[in-house]
């Protein structure tokens, strides 16, 4: 494995990117608010990439806070816990706070407001603890955390505190308010990954967090955690982009940071691990930013997983008449939500309520003029306009050849497009369609095998039948053999007759 050297004074850069207005001060500078317990929690069982966990409880069951209510049926998932105590009142298909507000199984808990914890006894093995706590990447993708800790050799653990999207400030709030828990979590992760060092990456526009951390680190005499500020360029907080900035290396196409001997974790995930390992609290709450110009009191809230968006909006004094669009996630990569009746999930880092002023399109979408602006800003070094043309012409395989699946959907290309083409929508469409076509291809290959096996079997049965018929026919046509057979039968009959007579006597 290549040795990875990280020098805080010599950082690298990725292609393109954008300088965006931050809009973060509105929600920061206030204390973290604790959200009240809603009457109903809607806990989505959707885990990353559409896998759905299986409920382990029934309607009518009483559950305590932190009790496991759903288990994944493959290793590629994570546990889901009840976020508060109460009664399960429904298990049904409902929209979730995921891309395109996908339908998935949702467990509805009517809370009893007692918020009573279940007694827990966290495992002392960190790997098991990660799984039991239901940890997923809290930065947005929701990749199950236990899958990152395999037996790979890890040189560096990167803790991602570079929140690059405008408005979102939940990670910054977490670093300000819970530095101790965060450091505990990082030390646990260092142990389980057996890594030499950890790096906390921050954006350079962030205030005094670096000094705060450095003081804590020297107070606690930790020598393998360093804090590095990276330039504030969107999307510097993207996993692959952050690795490029820090190490100058690129994650191979279709690969994972593990291939470079790196693990990247969001600050929220590290804190959640320490919460479970030291206090026995699984991942049932997270910090979420409520912001946007329709919000009266933009602020960061500590909210239970499954809290309906409407409940949080009410607390943040949202002007519902002004709200034109509700977005989960940031303004660049977020998804519009069809209603405010949806529960937040483990990856929801922000709710934006935007007024018409901010969502309206200025001017129409026009044809692509191949100006190449999008190529200049693409942080994944792709050719956005070329992909757009291929997808428009339904030439999806060609788009795949041009590394469509390396697109991180950051939206930088659509942001700079002078024709205002919603490029990311095209890429999302093409990715989903290609996945579907792959599924069909696999199925057709399987059908071909099944069909060939069947033909083979039918042919074999036919051959066997023919062979059998041939054998009997030969026996009946060969005169010498017929005579022998006849003699044998006669002998047998006579013998039986004799035996019978003997026994009668």
């Amino acid at each position: 494995m290549k040795e990875i050297k990280i020098n805080p004074n010599h950082l690298y850069s990725f292609n393109g990117g954008l300088k965006l207005k931050h809009h973060k001060t509105d929600s920061l500078g206030k204390k973290l608010a604790i959200s009240t317990i809603p009457d109903k929690l809607f806990i989505s069982l959707r885990i990353n990439r559409g896998n759905i966990a299986k409920p382990t409880v029934d309607i009518g069951d009483y559950v305590l806070k932190g009790q496991v209510i759903a288990k994944p049926d493959t290793d590629n998932g994570s546990y889901i816990h009840a976020s508060s105590s109460g009664t399960i009142t429904a298990i049904c298909d409902k929209e979730t706070a995921s891309p395109n507000a996908d339908m998935a199984t949702v467990i509805e808990i009517t809370t009893d407001k007692k918020n009573q914890w279940i007694e827990s006894n966290p495992s002392r093995d960190i790997k098991t603890a990660i799984k039991d706590a239901g940890l997923v990447g809290m930065g947005g993708a929701g990749f199950p955390t236990h899958l990152k800790y395999r037996d790979n050799e890890i040189s560096t653990l990167i803790i991602n505190g570079a929140e690059c999207e405008p408005y979102i400030s939940c990670d910054e709030q977490l670093m300000l308010d819970f530095p101790h828990e965060l450091l505990d979590g990082i030390i646990l992760m260092l142990n389980v990954a057996n890594a030499k060092q950890a790096i906390i990456a921050l954006e350079d526009q962030i205030g005094g967090i670096k000094t705060q951390f450095e003081k804590l680190i020297s107070d606690r005499k930790i020598d393998n955690i360093t804090v590095i500020k990276v330039p504030t360029i969107y999307p510097a907080g993207g996993e692959k982009q952050l690795i490029k900035v820090l190490t100058g290396q690129e994650v191979p196409s279709g690969g994972l940071p593990l291939d470079l001997g790196l693990i990247v974790q969001n600050v929220g995930t590290a804190k959640a691990l320490s919460d479970y390992y030291t206090n026995g609290k699984p991942l049932v709450e997270r910090i979420i930013t409520i912001a946007g110009d329709a919000i009266g009191q933009p602020q960061n809230y500590s909210a239970l997983i499954g809290t309906p968006i409407s409940h949080l909006l009410k607390q943040a004094e949202c002007n519902s008449d002004m709200t034109d669009r509700l977005i989960i996630g940031g303004p660049m990569m977020g998804f519009a939500m069809p209603s405010s009746d949806i529960g937040i999930d483990k990856t929801s880092n922000c709710i934006l309520a935007l007024s018409k002023e901010n969502t309206e399109h200025h001017g129409d979408t026009l044809p692509c003029i191949r100006c190449g602006e999008c190529v200049n800003v693409c942080p994944a070094n792709l050719l956005p306009q070329q992909l757009h043309w291929y997808i428009k012409g339904e030439n999806l395989e060609k788009a795949r050849e041009h590394h469509l699946f390396d697109c991180i959907e950051c939206g930088a290309c659509a942001w700079v497009c002078p024709s205002q083409i919603k490029l990311v929508d095209y890429y999302r469409y093409a990715k989903s369609e290609l996945k579907y076509l792959d599924f069909k291809r696999v199925k057709s290959d399987e059908s071909q095998i099944r069909h060939e096996k069947r033909e083979e079997r039918l042919q074999r049965l036919k051959d066997e039948r023919l062979a059998k018929r041939k054998r009997t026919r030969r026996r009946t046509t060969d005169p010498a053999k017929v005579k022998l057979d006849l003699q044998a039968t006669l002998d047998r009959v006579n013998k039986a007759k004799d035996d019978k007579e003997k026994s009668n006597e």
């Binding site: 959707r46 990439r49 559409g50 896998n51 759905i52 891309p99 395109n100 996908d102 998935a104 129409d364 979408t365 026009l366 044809p367 428009k392 919603k422 929508d425 095209y426 999302r428 469409y429 989903s432 369609e433 996945k435 579907y436 599924f439 069909k440 199925k443 057709s444 290959d445 399987e446 059908s447 071909q448 099944r450 069909h451 096996k453 069947r454």
Partner: protein
């Protein structure tokens, strides 16, 4: 030099090459027609017989021999015809309406289990062995293996096999293609 010597040298070289060619053609002999395999790989493998051939491979063979047109496969649809045309350097044709029309969604079949009499007739016609059952026992269909060829529907004497939308894994979430330019939208508004 004697002209016979040069003749001898040339003919022995020719003989040597002759042997090499013979050996190579034996050693690297291609079994079957490779173009049939390539065509077969494009066909959807539903084995439905809508193309008037008893399966995908026979149809592929017929196309390779120039006996059948490339527009007789409704499950493959427009996309399949385009791919075949590209592979064989032929013109893209419209789907032949005599063979049927392309379904907009994928379908598979299901046995209405309370009506099944256990006659095994559907099992005998299923080209991919996707039906489980025995005589006088209720039959059922493995949905993930069913290709939606519908061959079992006419075979059933009590009409207890029905078409249902094909199950798709949760990890695949098809979304619609984004609308084209606003100019089209404007045209629609006029």
């Amino acid at each position: 030099m004697h002209p016979l010597i040069s003749l001898l040298i040339i003919s022995s070289i020719a003989l040597l090459f002759g042997f090499i060619v013979m050996w190579v053609s034996k050693k690297f002999k291609v079994e079957g027609n490779p173009i049939v395999e390539q065509i077969n790989a494009i066909l959807p493998q539903t084995q439905c017989g809508q193309c008037d051939y008893p399966g995908c491979k026979p149809y592929a063979t017929a196309i390779a021999n120039g006996e059948a047109a490339i527009n007789q496969c409704p499950p493959g649809g427009e996309e399949g015809i385009k791919k075949l045309a590209e592979l064989l350097d032929l013109e893209v044709l419209e789907l032949n309406p005599e063979n049927g029309s392309e379904e907009t969604i994928d379908l598979v079949v299901e046995v209405v289990e309370e009506d099944c009499i256990g006659c095994t007739k559907c099992i005998q016609v299923c080209p991919v062995d996707a039906i489980i059952g025995a005589a006088k026992q209720m039959h059922t269909i493995i949905l993930s293996a069913c290709t939606g060829c519908d061959l079992c529907i006419p075979a059933c004497p009590v009409d207890c096999i029905i078409s249902i939308p094909a199950p798709i894994p949760n990890t695949i979430n098809r979304i619609e293609k984004p609308q084209l330019y606003a100019l089209v939208k404007e045209a629609q508004q006029l």
